[in-house]
Amino acid sequence: MFKYIVRRLIMAIPVILGVSFLSFIIIQAAPGDFLDQFRMNPSYSQETIHQLEIKFGFNENILVQYGKWLVQVLQGNFGHSFQYHQPVYNIIWGRLGATLLLSITTLVISWVLGIGLGIFAAMRQYKLGDQVASVVALIGLSIPNFFFALLFLYMASKTGWFPIGGMTSINNSEMGFFQSIGDYLWHVAGPAITLGFSSLAGVMRQMRGQFLDQLGMDYVEFARAKGMPRKVVVYKHALRNAINPLITMFGYTLSSLLGGAVLTEQVFSWPGMGRLTIQALNSQDLYLVMASLLLSSLMLVLGNLSADLLLAAVDPRVRKRFQ
C-alpha cells in the first residue's frame, strides 16, 4: 500500500514540473510585466525601475528565471508577491479560511442533497418524484454559475433574506462567538448554494444510475426471494454497492477544495483563492500566480490519489488488488 502511494507520488513529479514550467512560460510570454505600471509613472526614475528589475529578476532569461524560482520553491520559499509586498505563502494562507469555508459548505450541499435526491429518484423510477428530481438536476447542470449567482443576488437584494456579497457583516468583530459563526454561514449561503446547485446534478445522476443498476442485479432478487426485508436489501446491500463509484468521484472533487471558483466568487465578492488568482493574473504578480497554480495541480494529484485510497478503504476487492 505504502509502496503504491510512493510510486504514485513519484509519477506525479514530472507532471507538476511540466505544469509549473508551462504556466511560467505562458505567464511570462504575455507582453509587459508587473513593473509596467511604474514605467508609466513619471515619479519613478529610470534607475529605481532598473533596480526593481534586478530585484524581481526580470532582466534575466526566462529559463534562468524559472530555474531560480524552482530552486526557491524546492527550498520551501514561494517568493514575494509584487503587489502585496508580502511572502506569497502569507497571502495564500490568509485566503485559505474563506476558500475552505466556501468549498466545504459547497461539498456538503451538493453531496448530501445529491445522494439524497439520487436515492429518492431511483426508488421512484419514472414516477413524478423522479421526473421532478431529474428536471432539477438538468436545470442545475445547464444554468451558468455566474447567471445563477446574479439571480441569487437579485433575489437577496429584493427580499433581504441573504446578504449581497462579502464574507462578514460590518459589525462581525463585535459579535459573540456563535453569532459570528452564524454570520459567516449566512454570508456563505449564496455562493455555496450557487456552486452546490450546479455540482448537485452530477452526483444525483450518478447516484441514481448506480443505484438502479444495483437494484436490477441478481443478488438483490435473490435476497428478496430468500425473504429478506426490502429495507435491508435496498439500503444495506444495494446502496453500499452503489455508492462505491461515488466515493471515487468524491475523491476527485477533493482536488477542487483549494481551487476556488472565479466567477461565483467574483459576483459575490467572496475573498477566495479564485479572485486572488485572477487579480494576480491581471497585475502579472508572477509568483503569486505560480504558487496558486502549483497548489491546484498538487491538489489534483492528491485528490486523484485520495480517490483511489478511499475506494480501497471501502471496497475489500480493491484492497486485495493493492497487496
Binding site: 507532471v15 511540466g18 505567464i27 445547464s142 447567471f147 438502479l212 497554480l293
Partner: protein, 513 residues
C-alpha cells in the same frame, strides 16, 4: 428498465410488430437513427428550440428593431416599452408611446415615464372662441401646453401659497392626460406623514410655521395656455379656458418597416426589419442597456458569437483530438507516452486560469473578429486533451479487433487503417460527445467575456451583456439586463437535452440491432 420489461413479455404477432421488425431489418442506419430520435420528446423540443435560436441568429439584422451599435444616451436603462391595445376603450393595432425622463431629485436616478407630443388639439380660448391645431397642418410644427401648479398650505390661522409654477411642455406625460381631460385637478393632502415632509422641508417650513397648525395642503394643477410653433420660426401663445379634445401621438408597431441599412447574411443589402416604430420613439421589448441600446437587438447579435463558438470550437478540438488520440493509440510507444504526458499537464492547470493567461499573451486591442477567432482557438486548446485521451482509449481497444488485424494482414497502409477502419467506429461516441461538449464552449466564452477577457464593446455577446448586470445597483433596478442569461440557460439546456436524445437514439438497442 422499461425497455427490458417490454422485452420480457411474449411478443404478440400484430401488424405493428411486423412493421417494426420490417423497419429494423430494411431501414438504413440513418433512417433508424431518425426514427429513434423522433421517439424522444425532450430531444424533439430542444431541436426545435435550437433551430429557432439559430434562425434568429442568422437573420439577426432582420429581426432586430434597432441598430445594435447605435447609442441613445438619453435613454440609458430605459425600461421595456409598455404596449397598449386600447385607445379610448376601442381595440386598435398595438402601439406604444415615446418616453420622457427626468432625474429623481433625491436619488438622482433617471426615471422614465411614457409621454408623447400632441398631435391634434381642440380647445376654447379665453374669448370663448374655438381653436383647433393639428401637427403638420397650416405649418404647425409643435404644440406645447403650459401647465400650472399651485401648492397652498392651509393652517389653523390662515392660508398661504407655498409654490406657484408654470411649465411649458411639448412632451406630455401620460400621467397628466386624465387631469387634462377633467380640466384641472385639486388634490388635498391631509395625511399626517406627508404633511410632516412639508414641515421639515427647508424651503417650506419657514412659510408653514406662520399659519398656525398645519391642517392640510392642497395642490392645484391645470393647463392655462397652448403654445404653437410654426414652420417660419414664429410662435403663438393662446390662453385657454377649456380643453375639448386632444390626441397624443401614438407610435403603432409596424411590420416590415424601413430602418438602418444592413447586409442580410453578409451580402444582401437591405433596410427592411421585421417590426419597429417610427422615430423618435424606440420600441424596447426587453428594455435598454447602459448605453440606451435595445437589449433584444444586442441579444440577437450576441447570439452570433455565443451560438457559433461551440461549433467552431468542437471542429478544431475534434480534428486535433482525433488526430493526436488516433496516433497515440495506434502507434503506442514513445509517441503515446509524450502525448499523454502533455495532456496530463494541460489538464492539471485549472482551465479558466489557463484560458485567461493564454488570452493575456495576445494583445488586448485586436480587431473584434480576430478576438473572436482567438477565443475559439484558446477554448479548443483547453478542450483537446480530454478528447484525445478518450479517442486513444477507443483506438487501443478497436486496434485489437479482428477486422483491423485483417486489414493489416491485407497490407493496407496505416493511415488508411486509422481513417477508414478505426475512426469511423468511434463516430457514435464523437457525435454524442460533440453535442454534449458544446455547452462547455458556450460557457467558456461567456465566462471570459463576463470577466472582461473575451468579446469587447461595442461587439456583443451574452456573457459580455451580463457583465453590465454585475453592479448591484444596476442589477437591482434594471433586472431586464439579466435576460441574456436566460438565453444562455435555454441554449445550454437545449444542447444538453439534444445531446442526451442523440445518445439514446444512437444506442444500438434503440436502433433495433
Amino acid at each position: 428498465m422499461a425497455e427490458k420489461k417490454a422485452q420480457k413479455k411474449p411478443a404478440e404477432i400484430t401488424q405493428e410488430n411486423l412493421d417494426e421488425s420490417f423497419e429494423v431489418e430494411y431501414m438504413s442506419r440513418w433512417k433508424l437513427l431518425v426514427r429513434a430520435f423522433r421517439k424522444h420528446r425532450a430531444g424533439r423540443i430542444s431541436l426545435v428550440i435550437l433551430l429557432i435560436l439559430y434562425v434568429l441568429m442568422l437573420f439577426a439584422d432582420f429581426f432586430s428593431p434597432a441598430n445594435p451599435y447605435q447609442q441613445y444616451t438619453d435613454r440609458t436603462f430605459a425600461p421595456p416599452s409598455e404596449v397598449h391595445w386600447k385607445y379610448e376603450d376601442k381595440l386598435v393595432a398595438p402601439y406604444i408611446y415615446d418616453v420622457m425622463s427626468y432625474r429623481d431629485p433625491v436619488t438622482y436616478q433617471r426615471i422614465y415615464e411614457p409621454a408623447s407630443v400632441i398631435e391634434n388639439f381642440e380647445g376654447v380660448n379665453t374669448d370663448g372662441e374655438k381653436i383647433n391645431y393639428t401637427l403638420g397642418k397650416d405649418g404647425v410644427t409643435a404644440i406645447s401646453l403650459v401647465f400650472t401648479s399651485n401648492i397652498t398650505a392651509i393652517g389653523s390661522k390662515s392660508e398661504r401659497s407655498l409654490k406657484k409654477s408654470t411649465e411649458e411642455l411639448e412632451m406630455i406625460p401620460l400621467s397628466k392626460t386624465d387631469m387634462m381631460k377633467e380640466g384641472g385637478r385639486t388634490e388635498t393632502i391631509t395625511d399626517q406623514a406627508t404633511l410632516k415632509t412639508y414641515l421639515e422641508d427647508p424651503i417650506y417650513s419657514y412659510k408653514v410655521a406662520r399659519i398656525g397648525e398645519l391642517q392640510s395642503v392642497s395642490i392645484e394643477e391645470g393647463v392655462n395656455a397652448v403654445s404653437v410653433a410654426y414652420e417660419d420660426g414664429s410662435k403663438k401663445k393662446v390662453n385657454l379656458s377649456a380643453i375639448n379634445q386632444f390626441d397624443l401621438k401614438r407610435f403603432t408597431i409596424k411590420w416590415f418597416v424601413k430602418g438602418w441599412e444592413y447586409k442580410l447574411l453578409g451580402f444582401i443589402p437591405m433596410d427592411i426589419h421585421l417590426f419597429g416604430v417610427d422615430s423618435p420613439a424606440q420600441y424596447y421589448i426587453f428594455g435598454a442597456d447602459a448605453y440606451g441600446r435595445d437589449v433584444l437587438t444586442r441579444i440577437l447579435f450576441g447570439s452570433q458569437v455565443s451560438l457559433t463558438v461551440g461549433f467552431a470550437g468542437i471542429l478544431i478540438t475534434f480534428t486535433l483530438g482525433l488526430f493526436l488520440g488516433g496516433v497515440a493509440g495506434y502507434y503506442g510507444g514513445w509517441v503515446d507516452e509524450v502525448l499523454m504526458r502533455a495532456t496530463e499537464i494541460l489538464m492539471s492547470i485549472p482551465s479558466l486560469y489557463l484560458l485567461i493567461s493564454l488570452r493575456a499573451i495576445l494583445p488586448a486591442d485586436l480587431p473584434s473578429n480576430i478576438t473572436y477567432l482567438m477565443i475559439i482557438v484558446i477554448l479548443s486548446f483547453i478542450g483537446w486533451p480530454g478528447m484525445s485521451r478518450v479517442i486513444r482509449g477507443m483506438v487501443l481497444s478497436i486496434k485489437q479487433s479482428e477486422y483491423v488485424e485483417a486489414a493489416r494482414a491485407m497490407g493496407y497502409p496505416t493511415g488508411r487503417i486509422i481513417w477508414k477502419h478505426i475512426i469511423p467506429n468511434t463516430s457514435t461516441y464523437i457525435i454524442v460527445s460533440a453535442t454534449l461538449s458544446i455547452p462547455g464552449y458556450i460557457l467558456g466564452e461567456a465566462g471570459l467575456s463576463f470577466l472582461g477577457y473575451g468579446i469587447r464593446e461595442p461587439q456583443s455577446s451574452w456573457g459580455l451583456m451580463l457583465a453590465q448586470a454585475q453592479k448591484l445597483s444596476v442589477l437591482e433596478q434594471y433586472p431586464w439586463l439579466l435576460l441574456p442569461g436566460v438565453f444562455l440557460f435555454v441554449a445550454i439546456l437545449a444542447f444538453n437535452l439534444f445531446g442526451d436524445a442523440m445518445r439514446d437514439a444512437m444506442d444500438p438497442r434503440a436502433l433495433g440491432h
